[in-house]
Point group: C2
Chain length 115, copies 2
DNA sequence: GCGCTACTTAGACAAGCTTCGAAACAAGAG
DNA sequence: CTCTTGTTTCGAAGCTTGTCTAAGTAGCGC
């Protein structure tokens, strides 16, 4: 992603998305379009050191460990988080570029001083 | 939403999302987590005047009118777009606050000098 | 009124997603 | 090696979603 965000509007409101871009972005959006995964992402991102081990995550939900693992895999497959094993535990961290890309899609929509 | 975005990180990476916030945001995200709806949103937002009539939208897809209408309703129900009938045609426009909210969730993620 | 066009709603079906339990797998401690 | 902790994979039940056809509503022109 070397695209520079110019000024006016969110990319989504500047020109029509191509079919392939839309498909690619939808995959990422689908990954975060779930309350559990949204909270998982938030917990990982806000955890001390920017990373969290699965054991920290599992306790916050009324879900079984395999289910949490499945959601984490969904986020990982979408390229939003990355996992690393250190000893017994697996630590996950956010991939900022991916999250930024989603933000950039919608974010710089209007309402600077000039509007 | 009177929350002021402070500085450091995206909201999602600053503190864990509450269960209710996550549920609410997931509804909006689900609405955009679809290639068709993403393109519809983009086409509406980038159309001249900031609004597009359904007749402009339908032709761009290999889908029947009811299906397009269904997707538009999903976006409208999620609070992302608003529709208005003028004569024979129905015009849709983006609701900037809603789109901005999604952007603010992810956008200001780190990578300033101090991190 | 009548027909025509633009759009929405209703109902039905296939496909996919979420969740679970059980079992298999990996890494470290004794 | 065996035990424990933690993670992943597999298979199945239940629910949600995307799409269609058919029918309904709203405005325009004859």
């Amino acid at each position: 992603m070397t695209a520079v965000t110019i000024a006016c509007c969110a990319p989504i409101a500047r020109e029509p998305l191509s079919e392939s871009d839309a498909a690619e972005l939808a995959i990422m959006l689908k990954a975060v379009a779930d309350p559990i995964r949204l909270r998982l992402l938030s917990m990982i991102g806000s955890h001390a050191g920017g990373e969290a081990c699965v054991c920290d995550l599992t306790g916050a939900f009324d879900l079984t460990a395999p289910t949490i693992s499945h959601h984490l895999k969904t986020l990982r497959t979408a390229g939003l988080i990355d996992g690393e094993r250190r000893g017994t535990w697996v630590y996950y961290r956010i991939i900022p570029e991916a999250v930024n890309r989603l933000g950039a899609l919608f974010a710089p929509l209007a309402e600077p001083a000039t509007l």
